[in-house]
Symmetry: C2
DNA sequence: CTGAAAGCGCTAACAC
DNA sequence: GTGTTAGCGCTTTCAG
């Protein structure tokens, strides 16, 4: 790792000009075979690796796309990496901490989609999980490194986003399309929930149900609630007769609300939840109290996280195409890069209702 | 997105020199309060975002760390993102494709660990999944963009790695430490398997067992097999009496081998697998054939992927600290960046045997 | 504390 | 085909 060799070093060794070296690397066909060989030999000999910085600076583009989303749970960031295997392997019985595992599946999948699409289009992918205070600095930092940025809805202030958007295309993921001038990519939250709730109302003929919403500040949540209301209307059910509880999209939140519901005197026939985590929490509590699902109560979620396929009973849900969301986000960015003149784009990806045990097919 | 403003624009508007602008951004304390304010105002007004390329070029470091691993299944890379939500939401009954979900958990977790550690240390993280032929170009490309690179074992030829390592620190993930001059971060494969198999042999008193290995080219696999042999020796079991089947670390591979085993006349009492996927495949087949686990046959895996917690029966396994692997890799890189003089480092992270239903505690 | 000026390594006209 | 020559936008001495 002494001093990294540069085009100059390569040029000198190959007895050509630096322009030729550059050509061999970028447009090999524009160079005579023999010359090319000489240059490549020098490259190998010197261990030359082109500096993306210099290239980016000269070419005015980085060929990198950024993906920004909220940080993982702040649990143990400070924990040092100091555990060392000393040969002693502990044997433990199980250790079923259900909480941790379900959390980030959503981002993992979006990330995977973005990753696939980015490289397919010749871009590198830079990921950043913003935490608390550092967020502003972070987003600015990353913005300076990429040609375009995909940001998860509500993780960054519009103001900051606008600042960044002056420089590079920004696409907002999973938020409803507001008239904010950004590109948007999201899933059919409203129609999805409308169909799900409609199934409960129409096919199962339920009239006595409860809706467990998410935190008020989420656009996704708002759309789902709206879809739920539509379903009530479709079924001719008076909204006033249907309680709306406010959860927070977490398993614990679902548990808390379910506790209250279970204690109440009039137990609903169905609990429609705004996301899977919440629904899983509800299932936890119902099971604890010996309430049978789906016999006594129907439960539905939204998202389609993996954990829902393995729950007992398995969770009926509205599945979002998370990988596709990631891909679409990258696609939107590259589209705008290719044609900066484009007006604001909004893509809504289809969802599907997946019937499993917690609200089975009739 | 007109022309992005530069230090010059900011300097002009703030009536200072570009050097001062740079100072305000890098070392704010070295600038008078009043001057700083003027500059910051100009920054906000102009929507200035510093170019990481220019900075990297001038400062000779990118502050980015790269993570490279094998591409995801080549399934549908070509599939275009063209599905659009038209309001019609399909309702489907279940659709339990078990295959797809378990695949990339390992990378997802490593990635998460790397991500956490990178940002904690002030580095951005660039991820790249290399596919087939493009791999060489890719790795070179990414190498030019980062200050250090973590590579998953056996995804890149040693030759290429050596080339890259001349320029930046490279750490190999999850491969055994060979004397190749690279830094290594891995888990206690050998001791882990030795303990796991030892448990089967000693605690359950099994003598009649089969080992299902992975693909021959994986160093992890080799270490695990070695650990298995050690366990046999520990238990005084003649190696010659224990069949070693060769799988390929996939669920299908496990199924294939289990089919053979089930058909054979002498059914083993235990099947020790080199990874979880394989073990899950084995479980699939045993269940199909009505063979009870653990009553008739014990099954163990290795890795600790989430799917193993949800299988029926739940899978006993050796758990690797995947998130920690990612963190440790990044840590190793930053350590070397701080002190380039360091000799080759090798970190082996501890694993633990997790007893679940498929091979329960005695 | 602030400014002037010299690069960092590469690309992209533009000549030859 | 190949070489020359400007920059790209920022950091960093070195003066002042």
């Amino acid at each position: 790792m002494a001093k990294a060799p540069t085009v100059y070093d390569v040029a000198e060794r190959a007895q050509v000009s630096i322009a030729t070296v550059s050509r061999v690397l970028r447009t090999p066909d524009a160079v005579r075979e023999l010359t090319r060989e000489k240059v490549l030999d020098a490259v190998r000999y010197l261990g030359y690796v082109p500096s993306a910085n210099a290239r980016g600076l000269a070419a005015r583009r980085t060929n990198v796309i950024g993906l920004f989303f909220p940080g993982h749970d702040d649990l143990d960031y400070a924990a040092a990496v100091d555990a060392r295997g000393d040969g002693g392997v502990p044997v433990v019985v199980d250790d079923d901490d259900r909480a941790s595992e379900t959390e980030n599946l959503y981002f993992d999948e979006v990330l995977r989609g973005a990753e696939i699409e980015a490289w397919r289009r010749g871009f590198a992918l830079m990921v950043a999980a913003g935490r608390g205070a550092s967020r502003e600095a972070l987003i600015n930092d990353i913005a300076g490194r990429v040609d375009g940025l995909a940001v998860l809805s509500s993780t960054v202030s519009d103001e900051l986003l606008a600042h960044v958007a002056r420089r590079i295309p920004v696409v907002v993921l999973a938020g409803s399309e507001r008239d904010d001038g950004f590109d948007h990519v999201s899933a059919s939250n409203g129609p999805g929930m409308r169909t799900m709730a409609g199934y409960v109302l129409q096919q199962h003929g339920v009239r006595d149900l409860v809706y467990v919403a998410g935190p008020g500040d989420s656009p996704d949540d708002a759309e789902r609630l709206e879809g739920f209301r539509d379903a009530l209307r479709d079924a001719g059910v008076d909204e006033a007769t249907v309680p709306i509880e406010r959860g927070d999209f977490t398993r614990e939140g679902g548990q808390r609300i379910a506790e209250r519901l279970v204690r109440g005197d009039s137990r609903p026939r169905a609990i429609v939840c705004a996301n899977d985590q919440t629904a899983l929490g509800v299932l936890d509590v119902l099971e604890q109290h010996g309430i049978r699902v789906p016999e006594d109560v129907l439960v539905t979620g939204f998202d389609g996280i993996t954990a829902g396929r393995h729950s007992r009973p398995r969770l009926t849900t509205v599945h979002q195409p998370m990988v596709e969301l990631g891909r679409a986000a990258v696609h939107a960015i590259t589209a705008r890069l290719d044609d900066p003149g484009l007006g604001p784009q909004s893509l809504t990806l289809p969802v599907r209702v997946v019937l499993r045990d917690s609200c089975p097919p009739v």
